[in-house]
Protein backbone atom coordinates (compact mmCIF):
# COMPACT_ATOMS: atom_id res chain seq x y z
CA UNK A 1 0.00 0.00 0.00
CA UNK A 2 2.80 2.38 0.90
CA UNK A 3 4.43 1.99 -2.50
CA UNK A 4 1.20 2.91 -4.27
CA UNK A 5 0.76 6.04 -2.16
CA UNK A 6 4.32 7.20 -2.80
CA UNK A 7 4.02 6.64 -6.56
CA UNK A 8 0.74 8.55 -6.55
CA UNK A 9 2.38 11.44 -4.76
CA UNK A 10 5.24 11.38 -7.26
CA UNK A 11 2.79 11.47 -10.14
CA UNK A 12 1.02 14.39 -8.61
CA UNK A 13 4.32 16.20 -8.07
CA UNK A 14 5.43 15.58 -11.66
CA UNK A 15 2.17 16.87 -13.06
CA UNK A 16 2.37 19.88 -10.78
CA UNK A 17 5.95 20.68 -11.86
CA UNK A 18 5.04 20.35 -15.53
CA UNK A 19 1.98 22.55 -15.10
CA UNK A 20 4.01 25.17 -13.24
CA UNK A 21 6.76 25.18 -15.89
CA UNK A 22 4.21 25.45 -18.69
CA UNK A 23 2.37 28.20 -16.85
CA UNK A 24 5.56 30.16 -16.29
CA UNK A 25 6.74 29.84 -19.87
CA UNK A 26 3.46 30.88 -21.41
CA UNK A 27 2.19 33.40 -18.88
CA UNK A 28 5.33 35.35 -18.05
CA UNK A 29 7.33 34.54 -21.21
CA UNK A 30 10.22 33.61 -19.00
CA UNK A 31 13.58 34.09 -20.62
CA UNK A 32 16.51 31.83 -19.84
CA UNK A 33 19.05 34.58 -20.25
CA UNK A 34 17.35 36.97 -17.83
CA UNK A 35 17.17 34.48 -14.99
CA UNK A 36 20.41 32.56 -15.43
CA UNK A 37 22.83 35.42 -14.57
CA UNK A 38 21.17 35.71 -11.15
CA UNK A 39 22.11 32.08 -10.46
CA UNK A 40 25.45 32.12 -12.19
CA UNK A 41 26.98 35.44 -11.10
CA UNK A 42 28.27 34.17 -7.75
CA UNK A 43 29.35 30.90 -9.42
CA UNK A 44 31.39 32.52 -12.19
CA UNK A 45 33.83 34.18 -9.80
CA UNK A 46 34.59 30.86 -8.14
CA UNK A 47 35.59 29.06 -11.34
CA UNK A 48 39.40 28.87 -11.50
CA UNK A 49 40.89 30.78 -14.44
CA UNK A 50 42.58 27.71 -15.91
CA UNK A 51 39.17 26.32 -16.93
CA UNK A 52 38.25 27.87 -20.26
CA UNK A 53 34.68 28.30 -21.61
CA UNK A 54 35.46 25.87 -24.44
CA UNK A 55 36.25 23.14 -21.93
CA UNK A 56 32.84 23.67 -20.34
CA UNK A 57 31.24 23.45 -23.81
CA UNK A 58 32.94 20.12 -24.47
CA UNK A 59 31.77 18.88 -21.06
CA UNK A 60 28.18 19.22 -22.32
CA UNK A 61 28.58 16.31 -24.74
CA UNK A 62 29.26 13.60 -22.10
CA UNK A 63 26.28 14.90 -20.11
CA UNK A 64 24.09 14.60 -23.22
CA UNK A 65 25.39 11.07 -23.80
CA UNK A 66 24.54 10.16 -20.19
CA UNK A 67 21.03 11.57 -20.76
CA UNK A 68 20.70 9.43 -23.87
CA UNK A 69 21.74 6.42 -21.77
CA UNK A 70 19.06 7.27 -19.19
CA UNK A 71 16.43 7.56 -21.91
CA UNK A 72 17.53 4.18 -23.26
CA UNK A 73 17.39 2.60 -19.80
CA UNK A 74 13.88 3.95 -19.25
CA UNK A 75 12.60 0.95 -21.21
CA UNK A 76 13.44 -1.19 -18.18
CA UNK A 77 12.47 1.22 -15.41
CA UNK A 78 10.43 4.34 -15.96
CA UNK A 79 12.09 6.21 -13.08
CA UNK A 80 15.03 6.78 -15.45
CA UNK A 81 12.85 9.38 -17.19
CA UNK A 82 13.16 11.53 -14.05
CA UNK A 83 16.95 11.10 -14.14
CA UNK A 84 16.94 12.02 -17.81
CA UNK A 85 14.98 15.19 -17.05
CA UNK A 86 17.41 16.10 -14.26
CA UNK A 87 20.49 15.53 -16.42
CA UNK A 88 18.86 17.52 -19.22
CA UNK A 89 18.45 20.38 -16.77
CA UNK A 90 22.15 20.07 -15.86
CA UNK A 91 22.99 20.04 -19.56
CA UNK A 92 20.95 23.22 -20.10
CA UNK A 93 22.74 24.94 -17.22
CA UNK A 94 26.22 23.87 -18.45
CA UNK A 95 25.33 24.89 -21.98
CA UNK A 96 24.41 28.41 -20.95
CA UNK A 97 27.23 28.64 -18.40
CA UNK A 98 29.93 28.57 -21.08
CA UNK A 99 28.47 31.53 -22.96
CA UNK A 100 27.95 33.55 -19.78
CA UNK A 101 31.48 32.76 -18.58
CA UNK A 102 32.98 33.75 -21.94
CA UNK A 103 31.14 37.07 -21.90
CA UNK A 104 32.00 37.73 -18.26
CA UNK A 105 35.69 37.17 -18.99
CA UNK A 106 35.43 39.05 -22.29
CA UNK A 107 36.61 35.97 -24.16
CA UNK A 108 33.68 35.45 -26.53
CA UNK A 109 35.41 33.90 -29.57
CA UNK A 110 34.30 32.57 -32.93
CA UNK A 111 35.78 29.18 -32.18
CA UNK A 112 33.70 29.07 -29.00
CA UNK A 113 30.54 29.91 -30.94
CA UNK A 114 31.30 27.20 -33.51
CA UNK A 115 31.93 24.61 -30.80
CA UNK A 116 28.79 25.58 -28.90
CA UNK A 117 26.55 25.40 -31.95
CA UNK A 118 27.96 22.13 -33.32
CA UNK A 119 27.98 20.33 -29.99
CA UNK A 120 24.40 21.45 -29.36
CA UNK A 121 23.30 19.80 -32.62
CA UNK A 122 25.36 16.68 -31.88
CA UNK A 123 23.90 16.25 -28.42
CA UNK A 124 20.37 16.66 -29.77
CA UNK A 125 21.09 13.87 -32.26
CA UNK A 126 22.55 11.75 -29.43
CA UNK A 127 19.35 12.17 -27.37
CA UNK A 128 17.17 11.17 -30.29
CA UNK A 129 19.31 8.09 -30.98
CA UNK A 130 18.85 7.13 -27.33
CA UNK A 131 15.12 7.38 -27.96
CA UNK A 132 15.42 5.14 -31.04
CA UNK A 133 17.50 2.52 -29.22
CA UNK A 134 15.11 2.54 -26.28
CA UNK A 135 12.24 1.72 -28.63
CA UNK A 136 9.86 4.14 -26.93
CA UNK A 137 8.72 5.90 -30.07
CA UNK A 138 8.24 4.84 -33.69
CA UNK A 139 11.68 5.06 -35.34
CA UNK A 140 10.22 6.83 -38.39
CA UNK A 141 8.95 9.71 -36.26
CA UNK A 142 12.34 10.15 -34.57
CA UNK A 143 14.17 10.11 -37.89
CA UNK A 144 11.76 12.70 -39.33
CA UNK A 145 12.36 14.85 -36.29
CA UNK A 146 16.17 14.54 -36.76
CA UNK A 147 15.96 15.55 -40.41
CA UNK A 148 13.59 18.43 -39.60
CA UNK A 149 15.96 19.79 -36.96
CA UNK A 150 18.96 19.64 -39.26
CA UNK A 151 17.01 21.21 -42.11
CA UNK A 152 15.80 23.97 -39.82
CA UNK A 153 19.39 24.77 -38.81
CA UNK A 154 20.36 24.73 -42.47
CA UNK A 155 17.63 27.28 -43.31
CA UNK A 156 18.76 29.34 -40.33
CA UNK A 157 22.37 29.31 -41.54
CA UNK A 158 21.23 30.22 -45.06
CA UNK A 159 19.29 33.18 -43.73
CA UNK A 160 22.38 34.36 -41.81
CA UNK A 161 24.59 33.91 -44.89
CA UNK A 162 22.20 35.69 -47.27
CA UNK A 163 21.36 38.66 -45.07
CA UNK A 164 25.02 39.03 -44.15
CA UNK A 165 24.47 38.87 -40.41
CA UNK A 166 27.30 37.45 -38.29
CA UNK A 167 27.28 34.04 -36.67
CA UNK A 168 25.30 34.19 -33.43
CA UNK A 169 27.66 34.18 -30.48
CA UNK A 170 24.92 33.05 -28.11
CA UNK A 171 22.37 30.50 -29.18
CA UNK A 172 19.24 29.83 -27.21
CA UNK A 173 18.59 26.12 -26.78
CA UNK A 174 14.81 26.27 -27.18
CA UNK A 175 14.42 22.54 -27.51
CA UNK A 176 15.70 21.83 -24.02
CA UNK A 177 12.59 23.03 -22.18
CA UNK A 178 10.44 20.99 -24.55
CA UNK A 179 12.63 17.91 -24.01
CA UNK A 180 12.42 18.22 -20.23
CA UNK A 181 8.63 18.57 -20.36
CA UNK A 182 8.38 15.58 -22.72
CA UNK A 183 10.51 13.46 -20.32
CA UNK A 184 8.25 14.32 -17.38
CA UNK A 185 5.06 13.63 -19.33
CA UNK A 186 6.53 10.33 -20.55
CA UNK A 187 7.30 9.37 -16.95
CA UNK A 188 3.73 10.18 -15.91
CA UNK A 189 2.29 8.15 -18.77
CA UNK A 190 4.42 5.13 -17.86
CA UNK A 191 3.58 5.51 -14.18
CA UNK A 192 -0.14 5.59 -14.78
CA UNK A 193 0.23 2.53 -16.99
CA UNK A 194 -1.28 4.04 -20.14
CA UNK A 195 -0.09 2.26 -23.26
CA UNK A 196 -2.27 2.85 -26.28
CA UNK A 197 -5.65 4.13 -27.31
CA UNK A 198 -7.97 3.40 -30.22
CA UNK A 199 -8.52 6.04 -32.84
CA UNK A 200 -10.94 4.88 -35.52
CA UNK A 201 -9.94 1.29 -34.79
CA UNK A 202 -6.23 2.08 -35.18
CA UNK A 203 -4.11 1.37 -32.14
CA UNK A 204 -1.94 4.35 -31.33
CA UNK A 205 0.63 4.36 -28.56
CA UNK A 206 0.52 7.37 -26.24
CA UNK A 207 4.26 7.95 -26.70
CA UNK A 208 3.92 8.16 -30.46
CA UNK A 209 1.03 10.59 -30.19
CA UNK A 210 3.02 12.70 -27.73
CA UNK A 211 6.20 12.68 -29.78
CA UNK A 212 4.34 13.52 -32.98
CA UNK A 213 4.02 17.07 -31.65
CA UNK A 214 7.76 17.58 -32.22
CA UNK A 215 8.03 16.96 -35.99
CA UNK A 216 4.79 18.87 -36.62
CA UNK A 217 6.10 21.81 -34.61
CA UNK A 218 9.47 21.68 -36.39
CA UNK A 219 7.86 21.47 -39.82
CA UNK A 220 5.71 24.50 -39.04
CA UNK A 221 8.81 26.39 -37.81
CA UNK A 222 10.65 25.52 -41.04
CA UNK A 223 7.69 26.74 -43.08
CA UNK A 224 7.27 30.05 -41.25
CA UNK A 225 11.02 30.66 -41.12
CA UNK A 226 11.54 30.12 -44.84
CA UNK A 227 8.52 32.27 -45.67
CA UNK A 228 9.75 35.15 -43.54
CA UNK A 229 13.24 34.74 -45.06
CA UNK A 230 11.68 34.85 -48.53
CA UNK A 231 9.88 38.11 -47.70
CA UNK A 232 13.04 39.64 -46.23
CA UNK A 233 15.04 38.67 -49.32
CA UNK A 234 12.34 40.22 -51.52
CA UNK A 235 12.86 43.55 -49.77
CA UNK A 236 16.65 43.26 -50.09
CA UNK A 237 16.38 42.44 -53.80
CA UNK A 238 14.07 45.37 -54.48
CA UNK A 239 16.40 47.72 -52.63
CA UNK A 240 19.38 46.44 -54.63
CA UNK A 241 17.72 46.73 -58.03
CA UNK A 242 16.57 50.29 -57.40
Amino acid sequence: MEAIISSDTLTFLCLLITAVILFYIFAFRMKWRDILPIIFNPLIKKIPPNISPNQISVMGLPIALITALFIYLARYNHYYFIWAAISLLIYALVDSLDGILARARNQATKSGAFLDYTLDKLSYLALLSGLILGGHVLTTLVVISMLCTLFYSLINMESLALTGSPFPLAERPRWLILAIILCLIAFTIKLLGFKSFDLWKIEIRYFDALFMILPIYQASIIFTESRSLWNRLKKIDRAEHK
Binding site: L150, L154, F167, L233, H241
Partner: protein
Protein backbone atom coordinates in the same frame (compact mmCIF):
# COMPACT_ATOMS: atom_id res chain seq x y z
CA UNK B 1 18.35 -9.75 -72.22
CA UNK B 2 19.90 -9.95 -75.70
CA UNK B 3 18.60 -6.50 -76.63
CA UNK B 4 19.79 -4.99 -73.38
CA UNK B 5 23.40 -6.12 -73.37
CA UNK B 6 24.78 -3.69 -76.05
CA UNK B 7 23.15 -0.79 -74.20
CA UNK B 8 24.69 -1.95 -70.95
CA UNK B 9 28.12 -2.20 -72.50
CA UNK B 10 27.77 1.34 -73.91
CA UNK B 11 26.65 2.55 -70.48
CA UNK B 12 29.61 0.94 -68.73
CA UNK B 13 32.03 2.39 -71.27
CA UNK B 14 30.50 5.83 -70.79
CA UNK B 15 30.89 5.51 -66.99
CA UNK B 16 34.53 4.58 -67.43
CA UNK B 17 35.09 7.45 -69.87
CA UNK B 18 33.38 10.05 -67.66
CA UNK B 19 35.31 8.87 -64.59
CA UNK B 20 38.55 8.99 -66.57
CA UNK B 21 37.82 12.52 -67.80
CA UNK B 22 36.81 13.80 -64.39
CA UNK B 23 39.78 12.33 -62.58
CA UNK B 24 42.51 13.04 -65.11
CA UNK B 25 41.62 16.42 -66.58
CA UNK B 26 39.63 17.70 -63.57
CA UNK B 27 36.97 19.04 -65.87
CA UNK B 28 35.12 22.00 -64.44
CA UNK B 29 31.34 21.83 -64.76
CA UNK B 30 30.84 25.53 -65.21
CA UNK B 31 33.67 26.07 -67.67
CA UNK B 32 32.50 23.18 -69.82
CA UNK B 33 28.91 24.40 -69.95
CA UNK B 34 29.43 28.11 -70.47
CA UNK B 35 30.41 27.53 -74.14
CA UNK B 36 26.95 26.35 -75.14
CA UNK B 37 25.03 28.21 -72.44
CA UNK B 38 25.81 31.59 -73.95
CA UNK B 39 23.79 31.11 -77.20
CA UNK B 40 21.06 29.34 -75.20
CA UNK B 41 20.75 32.30 -72.82
CA UNK B 42 20.19 34.63 -75.78
CA UNK B 43 17.44 32.42 -77.22
CA UNK B 44 15.55 32.10 -73.91
CA UNK B 45 12.48 34.36 -74.00
CA UNK B 46 12.46 37.13 -71.45
CA UNK B 47 9.29 36.03 -69.65
CA UNK B 48 11.12 32.93 -68.35
CA UNK B 49 12.81 33.94 -65.14
CA UNK B 50 15.84 32.12 -63.66
CA UNK B 51 13.73 31.15 -60.63
CA UNK B 52 11.30 29.29 -62.89
CA UNK B 53 14.23 27.34 -64.33
CA UNK B 54 15.31 26.47 -60.80
CA UNK B 55 11.84 25.08 -60.13
CA UNK B 56 11.95 23.18 -63.42
CA UNK B 57 15.23 21.57 -62.41
CA UNK B 58 13.68 20.56 -59.09
CA UNK B 59 10.70 18.98 -60.87
CA UNK B 60 13.05 17.05 -63.18
CA UNK B 61 14.89 15.82 -60.09
CA UNK B 62 11.57 14.69 -58.57
CA UNK B 63 10.82 12.79 -61.78
CA UNK B 64 14.21 11.08 -61.44
CA UNK B 65 13.16 10.21 -57.88
CA UNK B 66 9.94 8.61 -59.19
CA UNK B 67 11.98 6.55 -61.68
CA UNK B 68 14.29 5.37 -58.91
CA UNK B 69 11.26 4.43 -56.81
CA UNK B 70 9.76 2.39 -59.64
CA UNK B 71 13.10 0.76 -60.53
CA UNK B 72 12.44 -2.16 -58.20
CA UNK B 73 10.16 -3.76 -60.80
CA UNK B 74 11.70 -2.32 -63.99
CA UNK B 75 15.50 -1.94 -63.64
CA UNK B 76 15.93 -0.12 -66.93
CA UNK B 77 14.19 2.93 -65.42
CA UNK B 78 17.48 3.51 -63.55
CA UNK B 79 19.02 4.54 -66.86
CA UNK B 80 16.32 7.18 -67.34
CA UNK B 81 16.82 8.26 -63.74
CA UNK B 82 20.52 8.86 -64.51
CA UNK B 83 19.61 10.83 -67.64
CA UNK B 84 17.11 12.96 -65.71
CA UNK B 85 19.61 13.62 -62.91
CA UNK B 86 22.13 14.83 -65.51
CA UNK B 87 19.42 16.96 -67.18
CA UNK B 88 18.47 18.46 -63.84
CA UNK B 89 22.12 19.27 -63.08
CA UNK B 90 22.49 21.03 -66.43
CA UNK B 91 19.27 23.02 -65.86
CA UNK B 92 20.47 23.87 -62.38
CA UNK B 93 23.74 25.23 -63.76
CA UNK B 94 21.85 27.14 -66.46
CA UNK B 95 19.66 29.18 -64.10
CA UNK B 96 22.65 30.76 -62.39
CA UNK B 97 24.24 31.43 -65.77
CA UNK B 98 21.04 33.04 -67.10
CA UNK B 99 20.72 35.22 -64.00
CA UNK B 100 24.31 36.40 -64.38
CA UNK B 101 23.92 36.95 -68.13
CA UNK B 102 20.84 39.11 -67.55
CA UNK B 103 22.53 40.84 -64.64
CA UNK B 104 19.57 39.87 -62.48
CA UNK B 105 21.15 37.57 -59.90
CA UNK B 106 19.13 37.91 -56.70
CA UNK B 107 19.29 36.75 -53.11
CA UNK B 108 15.98 34.97 -53.55
CA UNK B 109 17.44 33.03 -56.45
CA UNK B 110 20.42 31.97 -54.35
CA UNK B 111 18.15 30.83 -51.54
CA UNK B 112 15.89 28.90 -53.88
CA UNK B 113 18.82 27.31 -55.70
CA UNK B 114 20.48 26.16 -52.48
CA UNK B 115 17.34 24.90 -50.74
CA UNK B 116 15.87 23.09 -53.73
CA UNK B 117 19.23 21.43 -54.42
CA UNK B 118 19.24 20.00 -50.90
CA UNK B 119 15.58 18.98 -51.16
CA UNK B 120 16.24 17.23 -54.46
CA UNK B 121 19.14 15.32 -52.93
CA UNK B 122 16.97 14.24 -49.99
CA UNK B 123 14.10 13.22 -52.27
CA UNK B 124 16.38 11.01 -54.39
CA UNK B 125 17.65 9.27 -51.26
CA UNK B 126 14.09 8.94 -49.99
CA UNK B 127 12.97 7.37 -53.28
CA UNK B 128 15.87 4.88 -53.16
CA UNK B 129 14.78 3.99 -49.62
CA UNK B 130 11.08 3.57 -50.45
CA UNK B 131 11.84 1.60 -53.60
CA UNK B 132 13.89 -0.84 -51.52
CA UNK B 133 17.03 -0.39 -53.62
CA UNK B 134 19.26 0.40 -50.67
CA UNK B 135 19.09 -0.52 -47.00
CA UNK B 136 17.00 1.96 -45.02
CA UNK B 137 19.56 2.43 -42.23
CA UNK B 138 22.26 3.39 -44.73
CA UNK B 139 20.01 5.92 -46.45
CA UNK B 140 18.95 7.53 -43.17
CA UNK B 141 22.57 7.72 -41.98
CA UNK B 142 23.55 9.36 -45.27
CA UNK B 143 20.70 11.89 -45.02
CA UNK B 144 21.62 12.91 -41.47
CA UNK B 145 25.35 13.06 -42.23
CA UNK B 146 24.86 15.11 -45.40
CA UNK B 147 22.63 17.64 -43.67
CA UNK B 148 25.17 17.88 -40.85
CA UNK B 149 27.94 18.39 -43.39
CA UNK B 150 25.96 21.19 -45.04
CA UNK B 151 25.50 22.88 -41.68
CA UNK B 152 29.26 22.67 -40.99
CA UNK B 153 29.91 24.01 -44.50
CA UNK B 154 27.65 27.03 -43.95
CA UNK B 155 29.12 27.60 -40.49
CA UNK B 156 32.60 27.77 -41.96
CA UNK B 157 31.30 30.17 -44.64
CA UNK B 158 29.73 32.41 -41.99
CA UNK B 159 32.64 32.33 -39.59
CA UNK B 160 35.48 32.85 -42.04
CA UNK B 161 34.04 35.32 -44.58
CA UNK B 162 31.80 38.18 -43.47
CA UNK B 163 29.21 39.61 -45.83
CA UNK B 164 26.17 38.27 -47.67
CA UNK B 165 26.85 35.43 -50.08
CA UNK B 166 25.86 31.82 -50.61
CA UNK B 167 27.47 29.62 -53.20
CA UNK B 168 26.26 26.20 -54.10
CA UNK B 169 28.07 23.28 -55.71
CA UNK B 170 26.02 20.19 -56.39
CA UNK B 171 28.96 17.82 -56.23
CA UNK B 172 26.70 14.89 -55.37
CA UNK B 173 25.27 14.70 -58.90
CA UNK B 174 28.14 12.67 -60.39
CA UNK B 175 28.12 10.03 -57.59
CA UNK B 176 24.31 9.83 -57.96
CA UNK B 177 24.58 9.14 -61.70
CA UNK B 178 27.34 6.58 -61.14
CA UNK B 179 25.22 4.86 -58.47
CA UNK B 180 22.18 4.71 -60.78
CA UNK B 181 24.26 3.15 -63.56
CA UNK B 182 25.87 0.71 -61.13
CA UNK B 183 22.40 -0.31 -59.97
CA UNK B 184 21.38 -0.85 -63.59
CA UNK B 185 24.50 -2.93 -64.28
CA UNK B 186 24.08 -5.15 -61.23
CA UNK B 187 20.35 -5.63 -61.82
CA UNK B 188 20.64 -6.56 -65.47
CA UNK B 189 23.60 -8.93 -64.99
CA UNK B 190 21.93 -10.53 -61.97
CA UNK B 191 24.75 -9.55 -59.63
CA UNK B 192 22.54 -8.11 -56.89
CA UNK B 193 23.69 -10.48 -54.17
CA UNK B 194 27.04 -12.22 -54.42
CA UNK B 195 27.82 -15.14 -52.13
CA UNK B 196 31.08 -14.00 -50.52
CA UNK B 197 32.29 -16.21 -47.65
CA UNK B 198 28.80 -17.62 -47.32
CA UNK B 199 27.25 -14.21 -46.62
CA UNK B 200 24.77 -12.61 -49.01
CA UNK B 201 26.87 -9.66 -50.15
CA UNK B 202 24.69 -6.91 -51.62
CA UNK B 203 26.63 -5.05 -54.29
CA UNK B 204 24.53 -1.87 -54.40
CA UNK B 205 24.55 -1.45 -50.61
CA UNK B 206 28.32 -1.85 -50.54
CA UNK B 207 28.88 0.66 -53.34
CA UNK B 208 26.45 3.06 -51.65
CA UNK B 209 28.32 2.74 -48.37
CA UNK B 210 31.15 4.79 -49.92
CA UNK B 211 28.86 7.83 -49.81
CA UNK B 212 28.24 8.09 -46.02
CA UNK B 213 31.90 7.22 -45.37
CA UNK B 214 33.01 10.00 -47.72
CA UNK B 215 30.58 12.53 -46.22
CA UNK B 216 31.66 11.58 -42.70
CA UNK B 217 35.35 11.98 -43.49
CA UNK B 218 34.62 15.29 -45.24
CA UNK B 219 32.67 16.54 -42.20
CA UNK B 220 35.49 15.61 -39.83
CA UNK B 221 38.13 17.14 -42.08
CA UNK B 222 36.18 20.36 -42.58
CA UNK B 223 35.39 20.81 -38.90
CA UNK B 224 38.99 20.14 -37.80
CA UNK B 225 40.29 22.54 -40.46
CA UNK B 226 37.79 25.23 -39.45
CA UNK B 227 38.63 24.75 -35.77
CA UNK B 228 42.36 25.19 -36.45
CA UNK B 229 41.78 28.29 -38.56
CA UNK B 230 39.53 29.86 -35.94
CA UNK B 231 42.04 29.13 -33.19
CA UNK B 232 44.76 30.97 -35.08
CA UNK B 233 42.89 34.27 -34.89
Amino acid sequence: MATLSPIIIIVLISIAASLFYLLTFRVEWRGLFSTFFLPLAKITPSFITPNQITFLSFIIMLAAGVFIYLAGSAPFLLFWAAVFIALSAVTDAFDGFLARARNASSKRGMFLDYTLDKLGYLSLLFAAMLGGLIKTELVVATMVLSLFYNIIDLESLLLSKPGPHLTEHSRWVIPAIILCLTGLGTKSFGLEALPVLGIGFKVLDTVFMVLPAYVLSLTLYRSIYLWKRLRER
